[in-house]
Symmetry: C2
Subunit: 409 residues, 2 copies
């Protein structure tokens, strides 16, 4: 389909970048305003903006490498900001509940996704890929909603964040197993166990020892520097190093960004919070819009795909909500429900799995479309759901004033 | 030449972006620290970082579309921040001096650049392109140095900023004339005059009326919005709109960004300043590094090109310094020298002209290399020079405290 606005971006030298920025940032903020007025979280607007200007509706914007990079930077800064609000010790305290939450929240969605596709007579490997796409939680959206409400200090928020880190490691394992299944020579168990060990080692090392070391070392380094905004410079360099190490140890860059923020949580100044918030404010809308931009509703041309999409969406919500809720059962029904709701969004993680399946030729275009739809729809439904289950929790701190860093909206 | 670090960026999914970010941002900040310790402005480090990691020395980084986009965003936010410190009325007050400064600062460099290449027996059209590449000032670096010193309120800073805006319009005209010279049918005077009229109209409309309107309208809009960080959202959308309008009216996007900031100068809150500063802190290093990344010193393989490069560099410095200094003569020798020094950097603007010449086949690869060298070297030499000529000017305001927006370093 042609891009109706292509004539605009084609015109003068240098117009392309500001035009793209304006369309994405502007529509995200405009729809966020509309969402707020309808008493929904503002980020729903950002997500819908991507659907509106993307291939599903207006087709004004192509999801290109630049938008992908800005989106990745946006979600990195988002998780970095969230990490700045969380201390490693607090995460460790909820470790067991989080572990159970993550494990049950991986098993149930995988089984249900697989079963539905088997029942609908899809090939075995395609069914397994669908199950794998339903496994991993994308914590960015939940984190943003909780941060905007000022309740990142709530116990359930800790459990969600810790479970999301564990979930990412488990998702990596599932993807590794699944993607090696179609290949010749069978499953490479040694390779998979090695990468599992590396990723677990990375996370444990950072949470157990890294944070303490960084809390001592980085402020000393910063104090000796003469460069302007030295704390910000050191923090951002540390963020990129951790994101890079995370990808090398097999987990997502955003998990590295979150751990980087967490390592700095105890020493970060108010000014660092605000500067990081400024950078995030610019780039987070690109992350939100990018999720919607990747969805193409035209895949639901025939009724059977539409039926499958709806079944998978319901399964994705129920299996994750119930699985994680069961894992957190000992915290009581209300908190278990909050944790279950917080783990529902699949976001970009589910889409990555679907892309791997598509690129290997293991899943069809329509199943790919269903997986993307599931990822986007769970992500869009999560904020109103979170608004509902957290309706009677007050912010742990006074509402953000002019310079507090909590308003990630 | 192969990129020695390519194996790193090729490895795991998602590693490329944090690696690129780390190399550019990290090296820019590291060399900025070194520069500060050698009592040079920090941005010299950022500029040298691009040369170090680019094709001239280590060849670790290719200047690709993502870095170009981040660099453009960086310089847009830089000029937007500078605009926030400048009121339109103050710019108009120095209009006449600025006009004379800009005009003489265009004529002298053009004539000298052209004459040197004619003397060195280059073809006429190539000589004209060289002159054109020496015309336009890139105000970003000077603005950053003056902002970091807290002296954007000084009269000479106003003249430099106003002259840079006029200079951009003149540069556009020169480029339009020059690039139509090689084409069939001769020079399209009607088209050129039309685009001149549009660009002048745009600038005058914004400076004369736009700022006043915006100062009334935008705060009212912002007050009624419910979206989080509404002022930042409105300001950034306005920034992109103005950058886009600027490119459509023929001037550079950064001139639009500067005018956008200026229009908001009287009503911007402290929080807006800080948030914009945070976004800028992240992206400005990419702008600085991108300048050095575009230079390839290997072009100076033969002595005659090296000689030409040195001659053109000296001519670029003297002609701009003397031309602009003469234009501002009535302010006295010291201020005239300051203004002359501030107009010397050619930055990305000279490179754009050289690229047009190269793409049209009107200039050779070696003359292109000389033009890029001239652009980069004038930009790197300007900060120490500015440090020197402004050494006895104290900041007009108290030195930036924890939340003042002036430290653009």
């Amino acid at each position: 389909m042609p891009l109706p606005l292509a004539f605009l971006s084609a015109s003068p030298e240098g117009a392309h970048l500001p035009l793209q920025m304006l369309l994405v940032f502007g529509s995200a903020k405009l729809l966020a305003e509309v969402a707020q007025r309808l008493r929904m979280p503002g980020i729903v607007g950002g997500l819908l903006a991507g659907i509106l200007i993307g291939p599903s509706v207006l087709n004004w914007i192509r999801y290109d490498d630049l938008l992908r990079a800005l989106a990745e930077l946006g979600v990195m800064f988002l998780l970095f900001q969230v990490g700045l609000e969380v201390k490693a010790t607090e995460l460790l305290r909820v470790g067991r509940v989080a572990m159970l939450t993550a494990i049950l929240g991986v098993i149930l969605p995988f089984l249900l996704g697989w079963a539905i596709l088997v029942a609908a007579r899809h090939p075995p490997i395609e069914s397994i890929f669908m199950g794998a796409a339903m496994v991993a939680t994308s914590v960015g959206i939940t984190a943003q909603v909780l941060a905007a409400k000022g309740i990142l200090q709530h116990q359930t928020a800790r459990v969600i964040l810790a479970a999301a880190v564990i979930d990412d490691v488990l998702g990596l394992l599932v993807l590794a197993v699944v993607s090696s299944m179609g290949e010749k020579g069978g499953i490479d168990f040694v390779g998979i166990l090695t990468s599992a060990a590396v990723s677990i080692l990375f996370v444990v090392a950072v949470v157990e020892f890294g944070a303490r070391t960084v809390n001592v070392v980085l402020p000393r380094v910063t104090r000796r520097l003469k460069v302007e905004e030295a704390e910000f410079a050191v923090a951002v360099i540390f963020l990129f190093i951790m994101a890079l190490l995370a990808t090398y140890s097999g987990v997502a860059a955003i998990i590295g960004a979150f751990l980087a923020g967490m390592a700095l949580a105890e020493t970060a100044s108010k000014r660092l919070h605000t500067l990081v918030h400024g950078a995030g404010e610019l780039m987070v809308p690109f992350f939100l819009a990018s999720i919607g931009l990747q969805m193409d509703l035209s895949v639901f041309g025939d009724a059977s795909t539409l039926g499958l999409g709806i079944a998978i969406l319901i399964a994705a919500i129920l299996s994750k909500g119930v699985g994680c809720g069961l894992g957190a059962w000992k915290l009581g029904f209300k908190d278990a429900a909050r944790i279950g709701a917080g783990m529902i969004p699949r976001g970009e993680v589910g889409m990555v799995v679907a892309q791997v399946g598509l690129s290997k030729g293991e899943i069809s275009q329509s199943v790919y479309g269903v997986a993307v739809f599931m990822s986007v729809a769970t992500t869009i439904l999560a904020p109103p759901l979170l608004n509902f289950v957290y309706r009677d929790i007050a912010p742990a701190e006074p509402p953000p004033d002019d310079d507090l860093p909590l308003e990630l909206g």
